[in-house]
Symmetry: C2
């Protein structure tokens, strides 16, 4: 064992092999639901050290858990309880290698914090649009490994669609130098897209070339009250036609979500709260011309929506501060849920046309089977993606709620399957959802995934036991 | 042999197993450069028949060449010369299964002709934006199998980015029913993206769910004269900022391209031909508001471009007919090349910021080594993609030009590699570019591709000898 640690120290330096002391930040998942035990945490400084670490672990037979900001919600970036896995932290690979304004691309290392990437793009007058709650802590490598989503997917796509090239260390410790900024390259299989979203089970992403966009001339937000899910879907269709690609966010919140925010964060003002509505939508419009033009388009959309009774009330932010205040309300729903007590998260998607039927059906089933639980339903409706969360009955503690959790999730996932949806729209599988994957995916898909894993990582070196239900660990 | 053909007839019916008579349309590639010999052409009617055909061929040990419209430019959809391969034609799977206007998706079978797909979307008031020269003959299955590009990639992406779900028959004859219209689904590896662009070597695409877009309120074209490649790149940057996502095409043409059109198609009028320019660009702007708004934005962009001397002249189409006439000129370049005599096509891409240096460098090298050949350079500059074609010296016949071809292509591809570009931006590898793939891809990438091929198609049943340099045939 000491020999193995010495080998790792020879690769990354003494200071970057951690094995005694408090390793909580690397061993415990973000939501504090599971805690593993690492043999060591290794922090290489560059891609060559990552590759050497992989070869060293392969030779010694110790599997590797790649880790970025460790902010994932699916328990995919922490070690198991065996004490024999190596956590390979990418956080020291944090250089912005290049920003190419004419090509609208930037190349960054995996350990760059997402917010740093956004800021580096902005400092060149450009936009990197990936944006999500953990952006101050998560890393771009983790975002790509999990194909992160967030609030701008409607217009700009998931992490996969924002990436043009990757540098990857393979499970046999070789380096694939693929950080190209080409928009078109049909020379073989889509290895880049396969690595993205594979959650560190097929390769370790060490750098990426990302797409950038011109900064819009104006970004404007509006908050509207919507009487029903059907009307929300009608509003979405109209907004897409009316605003074209200007529509950059369409965030949905039910009344329960907003009540929790109002209750736990009284300093935040929920817009239009004089006349509570069953549902609210926060729209964002990014305009390449001007704020005046943005406002004109928004006003004509919302007037038409009022005329058609798709919405019952609307407020367009009059200032950046008002716009930020609207977004704060949306962003504080998860925290308000945490303060309210135990809850169960379901990150689901269904086709938008099926959303009203899904919400009606699942709501009825939940109410019948678990009359006291409270549905907290919000999310990226523009992408067909809801955080269909279930809050424990008022006053119930976690211990009492825990035995109900599997039954509730089974009910929700059965409904998702019935409507042809996804049980993990943007959070991935990790360790948390392997069981759901095993029961919800077709055998032919599972077999293809297993064959690819075995082909690229025959020794199950990288993140074993994650994503695939029965990978050796 | 007769027993095998009887088995195929039992699956698809007597009329749909073709083996004698003239099989030219299935055996010869689109550019008439290679001709193979099929054991039989099988035309199943549905996915079950495709799966049964695959199982039958697997049992009999006859490999399969999947084929759509057979319009590919890389010799990937015709059989080899052995006479032992089965051509599996998808053209009878041509139903539009579903159009979902609220979800902005449609599900179509692989054999649908691209133009039929576009028209079906338009008849529901929506846009399917994939558009390319062969759209009247190519099929959507082939477009996806080759990750087709075309003129709208700048705004809407390649075929891969326009596809949300696939139905695929695997090399062991099972059916993966994955035609989902979800925008977000992080439940495992990106099998869809892997199948797309794999050119029929990993699975047979039988149906797909495609993204649709609202029809723009107006589409406007403009033709501009550009003094240099540097100015073209500056114009592109300005157009992206100024028009935002309204910029849907940015097509580049050199003077030689337009002279060939003028010479061979005198009935077509090349815009702005009173003052010939080294380069011309055809821009398209799609506007979600109105034609007036589109024209206003275009005019202000082009005024600013004139002020900055990025362009020397400009014409905005005044009518749909004028716009069509501009596009006809662009679209007739390949035909004009064919009428002029033998030529060599290179479908290359480099990062846009490197384009001026690439064009200068490669042009000099070509002129020095092959002083009499004529460069015909045009294409999708907005994507960094040029059809960097080389026309034989005036009057030279194909037989005399042929011995020069390898040397010219070697020179062009060496330059592409030097500038970090791609030797096949949108046409794929097929049989034509396997050799270039072998010398231009890194060993680590080739090994990953081979491992995936062996894992998913261990018997090399599907399109063997295509894409990968040394697959068994």
């Amino acid at each position: 064992m000491n020999h193995f640690l010495d080998q790792l120290r020879a690769i990354v330096g003494d200071a970057h092999v951690l094995w005694d002391g408090d390793l909580t930040q690397w061993e415990q998942d973000w939501r504090r639901r599971v805690r593993g035990k690492a043999l060591a945490v290794v922090r290489p400084a560059n891609v060559e050290e990552v590759a050497a670490t992989v070869r060293c672990c392969l030779a010694a037979g110790h599997s590797i858990v790649p880790q970025g900001g460790n902010t994932g919600l699916a328990e995919g970036s922490t070690p198991d309880a065996s004490g024999s896995q190596v956590v390979l932290s990418l956080t020291r690979l944090n250089a912005v290698r290049n920003i190419d304004t004419a090509n609208l691309t930037m190349t960054v290392e995996a350990g760059c914090v997402l917010q740093t990437v956004q800021e580096a793009a902005a400092s060149s007058g450009l936009l990197f649009p990936l944006s999500l709650a953990a952006e101050g802590s998560c890393t771009i490598g983790g975002n790509l490994a999990t194909n992160a989503g967030g609030t701008q997917v409607l217009r700009y796509g998931n992490a996969r669609e924002l990436c043009l090239g990757l540098e990857v260390v393979t499970p046999d410790g070789r380096i694939w130098r693929g950080t190209s900024g080409l928009r078109k390259d049909n020379t073989g299989y889509a290895l880049r897209d396969l690595m993205i979203g594979s959650e560190g089970t097929l390769g370790i992403i060490t750098a990426a070339t990302l797409k950038l966009y011109p900064q819009p001339a104006a970004r404007l937000s509006a908050w509207v009250s919507v009487p029903s899910m059907e009307q929300a879907v009608a509003l979405l269709s109209a907004a897409r036609t009316h605003l074209g690609e200007g529509l950059t966010a369409f965030e949905f919140m039910d009344a329960q979500s907003l009540q929790l925010v109002q209750h736990h964060m009284p300093q935040l003002r929920v817009p239009l709260d004089q006349e509570p509505s069953p549902y609210s939508v926060l729209l964002e419009h990014s305009d390449s011309e001007s704020e005046t033009h943005a406002r004109m388009l928004f006003e004509s959309l919302l007037e038409s929506a009022l005329d058609n009774a798709w919405i019952t009330n609307a407020a367009i932010a009059e200032s950046l501060a008002q716009s930020r205040a609207m977004w704060h309300v949306r962003e504080h729903i998860p925290l308000a849920q945490a303060q309210e007590g135990p809850s169960l998260k379901h990150d689901i998607s269904v086709e938008i046309s099926k959303m009203p039927a899904f919400v009606a059906h699942t709501g009825e089933q939940l109410a019948a089977a678990y009359p006291d639980v409270r549905l907290v339903n919000f999310g990226h409706l523009g992408d067909g993606n809801l955080h269909y969360n279930v809050q424990a009955p008022a006053g119930m503690d976690a211990k009492t709620f825990a035995p109900l959790e599997d039954g509730i999730s089974d009910l929700v996932y059965a409904a998702v399957l019935h409507f042809g949806g996804s049980f993990s729209a943007e959070h991935g599988i990790g360790g948390l959802k392997r069981g759901v994957l095993a029961t919800h995916k077709s055998a032919v898909e599972l077999d293809m995934m297993r064959a690819i894993k075995a082909a690229l990582d025959p020794h199950h070196l990288l993140n074993p036991g994650r994503v695939l239900p029965d990978a050796a660990s």
